[in-house]
């Protein structure tokens, strides 16, 4: 195996569950997807196994783990990040955090989109996540604003073309990570992009139980 070999496992659970294995030289080797947006914890293990098997690599060959940090609905989003962290920890390899929308923008660029693009994804509770990109003819997409959270009728950047994403590809996520690496830019923060505070009810002391 050459020293330059870079073999990445990428995991994203910001929408469904997507796992991919990408090689620096040979490109995308495999991608395994689960589209159920409720069963991340159930399927994550099988999909990792499947992605490794289809790429004909073993866990020991992986040199880095790419984690989709969201934005995404919290419960599911955490599943992929936790699995990615644990995989990286177990192998003693690095974790490469990437904003999930970056993978969507990259996919759109690959499909021929150019210019300004507003990536939009479901945040549940009648809200959406958004990020604004410019997609150049050559070179990687650049995120200019976001990710943010908005009501669908109050989205910023109304002049940008809107691109709704129901799925985030882990293969695209890994390709973004390779580009970040190649360009020497910084990876995203290793922090889940919930973009929402936890639901809590602040206790205001004890309530009366007897009628006055």
């Amino acid at each position: 195996m050459s020293d330059h070999r870079e073999l990445l496992l990428a995991i994203d659970t910001s929408a469904g569950t997507s796992v991919a294995v990408v090689d620096l030289e040979r490109g995308v080797l495999s991608e395994a997807n689960g589209f159920d947006t409720m069963k991340h914890a159930e399927v994550i293990g099988r999909l990792i196994e499947q992605a490794l098997a289809e790429a004909s690599v073993s866990a020991a060959d992986i040199t880095g783990v790419v984690a989709g940090m969201g934005p995404g609905p919290f419960t599911g989003l955490r599943v992929g990040i936790a699995a990615a962290h644990a995989f990286a920890t177990g192998r003693g390899i690095e974790l490469l955090p990437v904003v999930s929308h970056d993978a969507v923008a990259r996919g759109a660029q690959h499909d021929g989109h150019r210019g300004e693009l507003l990536v939009v994804s479901d945040a549940r509770r009648r809200e959406v996540y958004w990020s604004l990109y410019s997609l150049p003819a050559d070179g990687a997409p650049v995120r200019h604003d976001g990710p943010g959270l908005a009501k669908p009728d109050a989205l910023p950047h109304p002049h940008a073309a809107r691109h709704d994403a129901a799925h985030v590809s882990a293969a695209a996520l890994a390709l973004v990570a390779l580009e970040v690496r190649r360009s020497g830019a910084a990876f995203a923060d290793d922090r889940a992009l919930y973009l929402r505070s936890p639901d809590v009810t602040i206790s205001t002391g004890a309530k009366r139980v007897t009628q006055r």
């Binding site: 293990g45 919290f74 419960t75 955490r78 599943v79 962290h85 920890t89 936890p198 809590v200």
Partner: protein, 351 residues
Amino acid sequence: MNTHEPVVLGIETSCDETGIGIVRGSTLLANAIASSMDEHARYGGVVPEIAARAHLEALTPTIHAALAEAQLTFDDIDAIAVTSGPGLSGALMVGVAAAKGLAIATGKPLYAVNHLVGHVGVDLVTPDSEPLEYPTIALLVSGGHTSLLYVRDLVGDVELLGETIDDAAGEAFDKVARVLGLPYPGGPHIDRVAVGGNPKAIRFPRGLSQPKDMAAHRYDFSFSGLKTSVARWVEARTDRGEEIPYADVAASFREAVADVLITKALAACADFGVPRLLFGGGVVANARIRSLAEERAALAGVTLRIPPLSLCTDNGAMIAALGAQLIMRGHGPSTLDFGADSTLPVTQIQA
């Protein structure tokens, strides 16, 4: 795999403690815990989403802390065990996902286990203790659960005799603390205020202890009526402009909880002819509950076992211990398809 004395790393994230424990067979090697308890204090109880977020952040550092404490690397680990339920589902999912990622990365077999049975299994890794004898009655009391179990075989035969039908005992402490204007978590503060109080000053109700309730709920618990009764008592005094004898209220409330827990647990011991009672869960930290249990168990001729507090509160060592027992008894690993099951029944020892 070494099935004689397997080295197992256990992951526990069912409530507000991120626990990573490591055992070798029945020997405790590490018990690393990160708690998000302080983050919940201002809300007066565990906020599930805050707990789940804290688990994600604490997992990797806590895994490293446990390995360092045990002076091991992943190469030394034979298997991984994880809590798959019962507990808070979003919190459980963090541990389940991490366990799967870790198991695949390291090529280790993975055991998904029951949190409540783990509370019993922890007794096996308690340092310097005689091996647990079966059968035993187990009383598990925390902020999240209040369960009475009949354990004939830790890895094969555990029966749920009864559980709380409303609040967990730990929750009752938190709610009564709020009534008395005390901070969260309620247990230690009620213990503090109860010092010098008369536990017989006020006769608060013992839930599900009347003859009519005992028929259907002999081993079940109920604490919401007790909480309401304390609140009503305090309000009546306040409305009359009288001073509240806080020490007496705290001591009498605590006595009611201790009394009903221990009475029912010892009734189970007597009914099944089992002279052994194992006590677990964070509420065993309560001084009066411990002393009353010791006193009454001795009178009833029941041997009482209480693991050290660090092993009674939720921890990863109990999960590792149960995983190790499953391996030593020849049980195969779980398949990768299990999820988080917030209501996993106690009869399902391994998922």
